[in-house]
């Protein structure tokens, strides 16, 4: 008996940009010791060999300039610290950032994290609902490949930002849902046409009806018209609109982090005030760590069926997609989740299509090996539900969930 799962009809995913777990949620270790965040002993050596501690000195904007390198070779250095034996130690962040500007003092800022009071939205949601201690980027590399895992369960062998040519029979989660019998509904909401979609341009070309805008998402929430599965993208650029200035709210450096807080709060409020609140689960996750410090070593994982050559990785070594990327913030929101839930199982972005597929479609093929092996964050409500895994575990819906004044 799992009333939260019985009522679950809509899954919503919001994917933000380029911030690590420790950078955004590391402060919460001091509030709840189960949250694997910052401790006083965490440090990285700078290029003079001096230890640089993690400190709560992160700023909302203009601090991480230049944009920290988060391409494959840089992330390789961040994870392995330049160790000749290639033992992952998460000791290469300051060295990596130093490479960009050759400024010792500036390179140390990569270790800064936000104090809890600076991120009232994200930290409140993490403490009020379910926070994932072990959600990793899918690959140790940049945005485009990591977002591909959220849409397709694979990046088709790419570890860079070049165009991904889809030449394997792994459909996007959107195509699977609308092609199913009976048909399911799915929408990708981008902020507006000036921000557009970051990743799935091929879907925009062929199936623009899959897309909506953020104002449409708000309207769909208010009217109870959400599709079965929604993926929301933030505003990726500063631009003028008919409503005035639209500030980028994706939190990608050097966009203002507070703008992202307002955006997350607005989406949460819209769902909470919707008639669909009892029937909806919202996952807030970040695509990758953006080159910013995190202390948890990414684990190995079952390889994908692709291999990136040494030339493609730019690191001098091939990559078999058998190690996850750096840890990112991930929070699951639902009125059926007990306050203060902390999840220690390992997830990555392939868990998104894995979860949505299993929940709405059940068994499905073909899927990439990475997706097939990924854990799911929502249990399918068919047959016996594993109580130890079900996060929507309350018998009655909460009435004490917070509101944000946006």
């Amino acid at each position: 008996m799992a009333p939260g799962l019985d009522k679950l009809q809509h899954i919503v995913v919001l994917m933000m940009e380029n911030r690590s777990f420790d950078h955004m949620l590391g402060s919460l270790k001091a509030v709840d010791a189960r949250i694997d965040g910052i401790t006083p002993d965490l440090s990285n050596p700078d290029t003079n060999g001096n230890p640089v501690r993690a400190q709560p000195l992160a700023e909302f904007q203009a601090q991480l300039q230049p944009d920290p390198d988060h391409h494959f070779p840089a992330v390789d250095l961040q994870i392995f610290g330049g160790d000749a034996n290639r033992v992952a130690n998460m000791q290469g962040f300051v060295k990596s950032y130093f490479n960009q500007q050759r400024d010792v003092a500036h390179s140390q800022k990569i270790m800064y994290y936000f104090a809890q009071k600076d991120l009232p939205v994200l930290t409140t949601l993490a403490l009020e609902f379910a926070v994932f201690n072990r959600w990793f980027a899918s690959i140790p590399g940049p945005t485009i490949c990591n977002r591909a895992f959220a849409h397709y369960g694979t990046s088709f062998g790419r570890v860079d930002m070049n165009l991904i040519y889809i030449n394997e029979p792994f459909k996007s989660i959107y195509d699977r849902l609308i092609g199913a019998n009976p048909k399911h509904t799915s929408k990708l909401y981008y902020y507006d046409t000036t921000s557009s979609t970051m990743e799935v341009t091929n879907l925009l070309e062929h199936q623009p009806e899959l897309f909506g805008t953020y104002p449409q998402f708000l309207d769909d929430c208010a009217k109870g018209n959400l599709p079965d599965y929604s993926f929301i993208e933030p505003n990726f650029n500063d631009h003028e609109s008919d409503s005035g200035e639209e500030v980028a709210n994706d939190q990608h450096p050097d966009h203002n982090v507070q703008a992202g807080e307002i955006y997350i709060a607005s989406i949460y409020n819209a769902i909470k005030r919707s008639p669909l609140w009892p029937n909806t689960a919202l996952l807030i996750v970040y695509d990758e760590h953006g080159g910013i410090y995190d202390h948890v070593v990414p684990p190995a994982c079952p390889p994908d069926q692709f291999t990136a050559s040494a030339n493609d990785t730019g690191s001098g070594r091939p990559f078999a997609f058998d190690r996850l990327g750096v840890r990112v913030p991930a929070i699951l929101v639902s009125p059926w989740i007990p306050q203060g839930t902390v999840v220690d199982r390992v997830f990555d972005h392939a868990s998104i299509p894995a979860t949505v597929t299993k929940f709405f479609l059940g068994d499905y093929a073909p899927r990439s090996p990475r997706e097939t092996n990924a854990d799911v964050f929502l249990e399918p409500n068919s047959g016996a539900v594993d109580a130890g895994r079900n996060l929507l575990s309350l018998d009655t819906m909460r009435t004490d969930c917070p509101d944000f004044d946006v």
Binding site: V121, T201, P208, N237, E245, V247, I262, P402
Partner: protein, 126 residues
């Protein structure tokens, strides 16, 4: 129920003259690739290598995204306007000539009302 205060943004958060990031450059590349498959009348005249600021990137992204939507909308409208089926009638020669002449005149009128090739039309309000 807790009401959590969320601070408002400072004025200087907005900067469309910010240099374009690697991420936006990648997005522009994707959209440029898509734009090349649009009919010519929907393609922009933007040289993407000259895009240097976030504001310039934003303008290009909007133009191509709206063009893709417009191209699909036009195709959808064309599918709806399928020609009516002709009735099977045996026509006498003068009636057939008259019908052909009417058709020629109507087609000429329609051509003169069409907008010239070029931009796909005024930008719609968001």
């Amino acid at each position: 129920m807790n009401l959590i205060h969320v601070p408002r943004l400072p004025k200087n958060a907005f900067d469309p003259n910010r240099p374009v990031s690697a991420l936006l450059k990648a997005q522009i590349e994707y959209l440029h690739d898509a734009e090349r498959r649009l009919p010519l009348r929907y393609q922009s005249e933007v040289y993407i290598n000259a895009v240097k600021t976030e504001g310039e990137a934003a303008n290009y992204i909007r133009e191509v995204t709206e063009a893709i939507h417009a191209a699909h909308a036009e195709a959808r409208a064309a599918r709806v306007k399928a020609p009516a089926k002709r009735k099977r009638v045996i026509e006498l020669a003068p009636v057939a000539d008259e019908r052909a002449e009417r058709k020629r005149v109507n087609q000429a009128k329609k051509r003169s009302r069409q907008k010239p090739l070029g931009k796909y039309g005024p930008k719609k309000k968001k």
